[in-house]
Amino acid sequence: MAVLTMAKALNDGLRAAMERDPKVLVMGEDVGKLGGVFRVTDGLQKDFGEQRVLDTPLAESGIIGTAVGLAIRGFRPVCEIQFDGFVFPGYDQIVSQLAKLHFRSQGKVRMPVVVRIPFGGGIGAVEHHSESPEALFAHVAGLKVVACSNPVDAYWMIQQAISCDDPIIFFEPKRRYWEKAEVDLDATPLPLFASRVARAGSTLTLAGYGPVLRTCLEAATAGEADGHDLEVIDLRTLSPLDLGPVVDSVRRTGRLVVVAEAPSESSVAAEVAARVQELCFHSLEAPVIRVSGFDTPYPPSKCEEDYLPDLDRVLDAVDRSLAW
């Protein structure tokens, strides 16, 4: 057992993957000597050298595009995009090459590339540092998209993502980087593409991922005072979605609230809501409710308390669902 922050759990996971496979590379802006702006890659260049931990020029298209080439050559690059809002110069390479090469080559070329993206708000940052663009990737065929929410998952999911032969967009909730948990380094981890019941309950189902998972758990604790027994599901994998545990839960509770920081239109939360009403129509006692960011650009940080789904907004949605 070890008590780790999420940032350290990711660091340890990266280290384990690099020790296991000499083809694993880490590349990105400031990931080497500095150890990344969030220190997720701290110490890796010192221990594995400059050929395995690359401080790249400042060009996200270059980071992804060369990772594609390195993957063709047999490497397993783990790219760091410094902040969510900086991924877009690399979006062309992600959509046009990374996502499609396996299909285009009829399976002859594999793309075992992980693109790590710190995402979400709540850290009081300036523009382009607080976004939740996961739907833009979940919508692209050929990519797999996951989001960790806690140090235990961070430790295992990063290793599983690196060993996966498909390209993975790996979202890390930046405002949770410094939260700690006990990590059992000898445990058998849950598979990567599986959602997980984070708290069992019977009154209503809360589903979320990434930074809001903790908000959902806090809502469940707060709900106890009102006599509610909320079940919380960590979606973990956003593409492909693993809705089995959600469907099982909703068939028992009859109510679902989906929580995410991203804007709600055409979002991952919207996809969950649509699929659940298809699969659980006769079990639902209330419409599926989304609690999300708004369909506005991410606002100046003094507005982010209004923008981000917080405990009160989740509980308000719980009340509305239960009152239906």
Binding site: V37, P57, L58, S61, E127, C303, D306
Partner: protein, 405 residues
């Protein structure tokens, strides 16, 4: 002067095609004392030196003008330091210091005509100053109340651009528009655009594309980059093998390196570059060779990746001190002037601080404002829903809705 052939590097001999690492670093770094390719009018020791090409762009820079430039730099440095302090005291979420880059920014900014347009990155507080942006108008970005308070079209100073290099294409497009509207040519109405970016940005695709578009459309844009030696933790050799100003030759336009800590040289060279653009000889690339004396931002810790010795060496080349020395030695300026500027800068800092700590928080529905020019039913519905939700708390005695614009 602007024939690209004049600026092409000489044909390399075979060994030059594969320079050693030492050779590369020498090319990137060796000019800090005024190498053959570095334009300098004022030495680090404060001595005005002649330059046969650029003196003609500095003939009006008499004692009064030099005092003005000194005042600009002192005031800008003073509120920059206050920004750092306000962040440390929790009044700002972040501050992006310009310490050490005052000459590069004031020199370029004071070369602009009112009709010219400037596109900044996010560190150009000194250029903002020269465009008449009050320093308090910068605060919202760093306190988190707005993304930029000024009107970019009125100020002829675009909003800060945070995504590295994006603005190089935007500036090029603007400059193409100037050309399409026949604003390029002789006469007082002629316009040019200047685009600010950094050494790190030169690796971005948008910067390359900006160079290509500006070249093929003859856009009147000065690409002015401050090479402050560090892109957060990455030194210039992470971005390039050749001195960056030399890249211009490959695109077919002039590139020039100026001592970025020499406000006179920055002013003269930028005047020349803007004049080239205004009269139809653009674009031009200017490398202001300077040094980031503070961290990348207040979130950064440079002790993790660079040596203190380097900073000490650059302190000897401070952009403000050399002007002070020159004013004393060559213009006989006395202490009264310097004390006056100091007092003015302290008053500015006090006003800056006072404004910052009294900024009201934005209203809860601020984020729904101005998302679209013609509105959106989705956003309108979310705004109504959120305000109703918010009011449900007020009726239970929660704090009232904050102020804001």
């Amino acid at each position: 002067m602007s024939d690209p052939h004049d600026w092409a590097p000489s044909t390399p001999s075979a060994p030059d095609q594969h320079p050693s690492r030492e050779h590369v670093l020498a090319g990137l770094k060796a000019t800090d004392e005024g190498g053959a390719d570095l334009v300098q009018l004022l030495t680090p020791e404060g001595e005005r030196v002649a330059d046969p090409r650029f003196d003609q762009f500095a003939t009006d820079l008499d004692s009064a003008a030099l005092q003005g430039l000194y005042r600009d730099m002192v005031l800008v440095r003073r509120f920059d330091r206050e920004g750092n302090a306000l962040q440390r005291q929790g009044q700002l979420g972040i501050w992006v210091p310009l310490l050490g880059q005052e000459a590069a920014q004031i020199g370029a900014g004071r070369a602009l005509q009112p009709q010219d347009m400037a596109f900044p990155s996010y560190r150009e507080h000194g250029v903002a100053w020269t465009r008449g942006i009050d320093p308090t108008e910068l605060l919202g970005i760093f306190r988190g109340t707005d993304h930029g308070a000024w009107d970019p079209k009125d100020a002829r100073f675009h909003l800060y651009t945070i995504v590295i290099g994006n603005q190089c294409l935007n500036a090029t497009g603007y400059a193409m528009g100037q050309r399409f509207e026949s604003k390029v040519g002789e006469g007082p109405e002629a316009e040019a655009t200047i685009c600010f970016f950094g050494d790190g940005a030169t690796s971005q695709g948008d910067v390359h594309e900006g160079f290509v578009w500006a070249a093929v459309y003859d856009a009147p844009v000065v690409f002015y980059f401050q090479n402050n030696q560090w892109a957060i933790s990455e030194p210039t050799e992470r971005q390039t093998r050749v001195p960056l100003y030399k890249r211009a030759a490959g695109y077919g336009f002039p590139g020039i390196r100026v001592d970025g800590n020499d406000v006179l040289a920055c002013l003269a060279v930028t005047r020349w570059a803007l004049e080239e653009c205004r009269t139809g000889n653009g674009p031009v690339l200017v490398e202001a060779f300077t040094y980031r004396m503070d961290a990348h931002t207040t979130s950064d810790d440079p002790t993790r990746y660079r040596l203190a010795d380097e900073l000490e060496l650059w302190k000897l080349k401070d952009p403000i001190e050399r002007v002070r020395v020159n004013l004393v030695r060559e213009h006989g300026i006395g202490q009264e002037f310097f004390s006056g500027v100091q007092a003015e800068s302290d008053a500015l800092a006090a006003r800056f601080r006072e404004y910052c700590v009294n900024m009201p928080p934005p209203a809860p529905d601020r984020m729904f404002s101005q998302v679209y020019a013609e509105g959106s039913t989705t956003v309108d519905a979310q705004r109504q829903e959120y305000l109703a939700y918010h009011e449900s708390f007020e009726s239970h005695g929660s704090p009232a809705v904050g102020g804001g614009r």
